[in-house]
C-alpha cells in the first residue's frame, strides 16, 4: 500500500509502508454469560449491543488496527470460544482472536447453567497462548484485557450455585501479581444474592454492576485502557471510568 497525496499541488513522493511496524496488539477477551437467565430480552439486548459494538470497532481506525478480539460464552452449549461468528469446536486448538477491523459478532442464544469459572479458565488459557504466538512472531502487545460480563453467579453442572469458584482465586491473584492480564468483572441487571461477592473476589477493585447491558461503557473502558496502557501507565483505566474503585495493590 502506498500513500499518494491528492489535494496539494506539489507533493511527497509515494511511500511504501509494507515493512513498517504493526500497531502494537491489544488482545481483548469478552467473556459473556449466555445462561438461561439471559433468555428473552437480555440476550436480544446483548446481541444488539454486541453487533453495534463490533461495527463501532470495525470503523474505528485506531482501535480496529490494534485490538484483537476473542469471545468466550458460558451458558448455552456450555463453555464456548468464538472466532468472530464462528464457534470453535471444543477439541480444536484454533485461536479465537480476530483483528478488530474484521471482528463480527455471532448471534448468541441463551440456555443452560452458568459455568462462569470454566469460561474464565478458557479465556485465560487463550490469552496465554495468544501472547506466546505474538512473541513468537516478534509482535509487541499491551497487557491483555479480559471482560467478564454476567447476570448471575457461577453454578455447577446441576445449575446450583457453588462455592467452588473460590478455588480459582489464588491463581487469579498470582496472575495479577505477574500482570499477566487485566480482568474486569461486570455485573449486568439484577444479580442474585452473592453474585456481587463473586465479582468482587474475582476482580478486586475492577468490578462493577452496570444498569442494563451497558456495552457502551464497556467500549469506553477499552478505549481508555488503550490510551493509558500505551505508555506503560500506572493508572488504572477502570478506576477512571468507575470512580471510587481502587484496584487491589494500588496506592
Amino acid at each position: 500500500m502506498s500513500y499518494v497525496p491528492q489535494d496539494v499541488p506539489y507533493s511527497i513522493s509515494p511511500i511504501d509502508f509494507s515493512d513498517g511496524g504493526t500497531a502494537q496488539r491489544l488482545p481483548v477477551v469478552l467473556c459473556l454469560d449466555t445462561s438461561s437467565s439471559m433468555q428473552g430480552e437480555p440476550i436480544e439486548a446483548l446481541n444488539t449491543e454486541l453487533t453495534g459494538w463490533s461495527r463501532i470497532l470495525n470503523n474505528d481506525l485506531q482501535l480496529s488496527s490494534a485490538v484483537d478480539v476473542a469471545l468466550v460464552t458460558f451458558g448455552a452449549e456450555g463453555v464456548r470460544a468464538w472466532r468472530g461468528q464462528q464457534a470453535i469446536p471444543s477439541n480444536s486448538t484454533e485461536s479465537p482472536f480476530v483483528p478488530g477491523e474484521r471482528f463480527t459478532a455471532p448471534k448468541l442464544t441463551a440456555g443452560g447453567v452458568t459455568p462462569m469459572i470454566e469460561a474464565l479458565r478458557l479465556a485465560i488459557s487463550h490469552v496465554r497462548r495468544y501472547k506466546e504466538s505474538l512473541r513468537a512472531n516478534g509482535l509487541q502487545y499491551y497487557r491483555p484485557l479480559i471482560f467478564l460480563a454476567t447476570d448471575g453467579a457461577p453454578t455447577g453442572p446441576d445449575g446450583h450455585v457453588t462455592s467452588s469458584w473460590r478455588e480459582i482465586l489464588p491463581e487469579l491473584a498470582a496472575d495479577r501479581e505477574e500482570k499477566r492480564y487485566l480482568l474486569y468483572a461486570l455485573g449486568v441487571g439484577d444479580l442474585p444474592p452473592g453474585a456481587t461477592e463473586v465479582l468482587a473476589s474475582l476482580a478486586p477493585g475492577r468490578n462493577h454492576v452496570l444498569a442494563g447491558l451497558a456495552f457502551r461503557e464497556l467500549l469506553q473502558v477499552l478505549s481508555a485502557s488503550i490510551d493509558m496502557l500505551k505508555k506503560g501507565k500506572e493508572e488504572d483505566p477502570f478506576a477512571k471510568i468507575f470512580p471510587g474503585q481502587r484496584p487491589a495493590g494500588s496506592p
Binding site: Y10, D16, D19, G21, G138, D227
Partner: protein, 265 residues
C-alpha cells in the same frame, strides 16, 4: 557547503483528537549565526509529553525551548572541535535542561510534583561536519548522507535501544528518577550529512522498518519522501500534515506525531 533549512510540525494523534486531548508533542529549532563555528549551527529538538500526565503538553513545549536555549548558551562559550567535546557539551546541556525543567515544573505544579509535566526529549545539533544527537526516551533521528557524485543517498537510524519488558511500552522521561543515566548520546563527523529527520515515537511504525518487534532501520521511502519534499522551495507544508493524518500512518500509530526536518540548500 550550503546553509541548512528547517521545517517542522507537531499534530495531535487520532486518539487525542477523539478524546479531546491537546497535542502533547512539541518541536523547536534555532539557526545560530553568531557562534564561532564554520558557519551557522542548527539546533533541533522534539518532545513527546506523557499521555497519562495532566500537564505534559506544557512539559513538551517547555523542554524543547529549554533545550534549544541551553545548547545555544553552551555554544556561545565554545564550539567543540572533536567528538569528545561535542559529547560533553550535549551531556552538560541536558543536565542544565533537566535542572531548569525540574525547577520550572515544580514552581508551576503548585504543590504537585514535576511528574505531571513528564516528557521525552531528543536533540540534534548540526555544525560544519559535526552532527551530535542526544536523547531521553523513545524519540528517534534518521540521518541522510549523500556523497558528491556518489551512489544514491543512504539513510541511517539513530535511536535509543528499547526498554525491555513483557509490555515493552515503557519509556524514560526527563522527570524520571536517574534520567541522565539513560541519556543516549552519539556524535558523528561526516561532511556528507545532507538531511536530518527528528521524530517522536508516534511515527516509529510508519517511518521505520521493523523486525522481531524492534525498529531496525529507516523506512527509506518515508525519509526520502519527506526530506526530498522539504528541499523544494515551493513545498506546501500542508502535504506533510496530510501525510501524518493519512490512514496508512494512523493505522500504524494513533499517537501524536512530530516531524522536524533539516536539509541543505
Amino acid at each position: 557547503m550550503s546553509a541548512w533549512r528547517v521545517q517542522g510540525l507537531s499534530l495531535p494523534g487520532y486518539s487525542h483528537m477523539r478524546s479531546g486531548l491537546p497535542c502533547q508533542d512539541a518541536h523547536r529549532h534555532a539557526i545560530l549565526e553568531k557562534v564561532k563555528a564554520d558557519g551557522p549551527v542548527v539546533v533541533l529538538a522534539v518532545a513527546d509529553g506523557a499521555g497519562s500526565r495532566s500537564r505534559s503538553a506544557e512539559g513538551a513545549e517547555m523542554v524543547v525551548s529549554l533545550a534549544v536555549a541551553a545548547v545555544e548558551e553552551a555554544l556561545s562559550e565554545y564550539v567543540p572541535a572533536d567528538g569528545e567535546a561535542w559529547k560533553e557539551l550535549l551531556c552538560s546541556s541536558f543536565q542544565a535542561v533537566l535542572t531548569r525543567f525540574h525547577d520550572h515544573a515544580t514552581q508551576l505544579a503548585d504543590g504537585h510534583g514535576a511528574d505531571d509535566f513528564a516528557t521525552t526529549l531528543t536533540v540534534a545539533v548540526l555544525s560544519g561536519e559535526w552532527l551530535g544527537i542526544a536523547s531521553l526516551g523513545d524519540g528517534f533521528v534518521v540521518v541522510r548522507t549523500e556523497e558528491p557524485d556518489g551512489p544514491a543517498a543512504a539513510f541511517h537510524l539513530v535511536t535509543q535501544p528499547p526498554v525491555v519488558g513483557e509490555y515493552s511500552n515503557q519509556t524514560v522521561f526527563v522527570t524520571s528518577a536517574g534520567a541522565l543515566e539513560s541519556l543516549y548520546v552519539c556524535c558523528i563527523q561526516d561532511a556528507c550529512v545532507t538531511g536530518l529527520m527528528l521524530s517522536t515515537d508516534g511515527l516509529a511504525q510508519p517511518a521505520l522498518r521493523w523486525a522481531d518487534g524492534v525498529p531496525r532501520r529507516p523506512n527509506t521511502s518515508f525519509a526520502k519522501g519527506v526530506l526530498d519534499f522539504a528541499e523544494k522551495s515551493d513545498a506546501d507544508p500542508r502535504a506533510l500534515a496530510q501525510l501524518l493524518l493519512s490512514d496508512d500512518v494512523v493505522r500504524r500509530n494513533a499517537d501524536d506525531k512530530t516531524l522536524l526536518l533539516a536539509v541543505r540548500g
